[in-house]
Subunit: 145 residues, 2 copies
DNA sequence: TTGCTTGTTGCGAAAATTCGCAACAAGTCA
DNA sequence: TGACTTGTTGCGAATTTTCGCAACAAGCAA
């Protein structure tokens, strides 16, 4: 899933932010490392390439890229945070509390919900990424919840 | 919102867990401190009463009571965790990313969603507590999302 | 290309959270 | 009531995440 670097860079600069090698490295790392990447994994990866890149920068850049909707934050079952590329079409996760598996949920299923919140509560739900927790097919029988 | 101590204690013992003064103190603290209590606030509160009670215990007990469905975990807008009493009738939150306000959402609105996930994906969504992020009435105009 | 402005980074320290293990004590059973 | 079992706690250290600030460098303009 290669990201369109020049497009992203243009977008950042247009908003008055800077494109730094650190940001590019971290973005590449998330892109390569896959679907739900922890800050620590990102640090390991980029630190090998740029040993002076600090942990603080990793956290800051992950937050920053999430605010810019370039990355999306994923809540894992254990409560920790991970990140992944935020595609143009958002998708969502069903996270199994037993086996930690991730099921992807198409965006469409949330749109009705979003509309309902809008009309009933005048609240604009940000559905760029949502995680639901529970038990998947394989685990729902064994787990006595 | 006073909790039924004896009922909770009975429930814990029945499951083979112990009722310790630490656990009772921490539960009381969450109960008194209100709707979305941070671990730090709990620590401050109980530490005044029981100075030897450690931070580690606060975190452990909060996790534990959440697993027992006595407390509920709340995701705040900044990504941090807070806790609150888990009532028999679950409720949910619309969290405003701009002003941090919490809107309560009745349980009923999520039941249809839960049923849909069940039939379509054979996934049993745990709807004991769900938070949605976005922008509330007051902030949705000013925030240029 | 050169210099300025100011957004970013690196570093070290602080704060938040988790872990391991020995000491402790809640609940049980005689 | 008095021991025993084993779930819990406290402590200190490790890990994770955040913070403050001075040095740095990306992007802009001349």
């Amino acid at each position: 899933m290669p990201h369109n670097t020049t497009e992203i860079n243009r977008q950042l600069r247009k908003s008055g932010y800077r494109v730094t090698p650190q940001r590019q490295l971290i973005l590449d790392a998330v892109c390569q490392l896959g679907d739900h990447v922890t800050p620590d994994a990102v640090y390991d990866h980029v630190h090998r390439i740029a040993p002076t890149l600090s942990r603080a920068t990793v956290y800051r850049v992950l937050h920053f890229l999430t605010e810019q909707h370039i990355l999306a934050m994923v809540h894992m079952a254990d409560g920790r945070l991970a990140y992944e590329m935020a595609g143009p079409e958002p998708h969502h996760h069903l996270v199994c509390r037993s086996c930690d598996s991730l099921l992807e949920l198409p965006h469409s299923v949330l749109l009705a919900f979003r509309r309902a919140m809008d009309t009933q509560y005048d609240f604009e739900v940000d559905v760029s990424h949502v995680s639901f927790f529970g038990h998947c097919t394989d685990c729902r029988d064994s787990a006595g919840a």
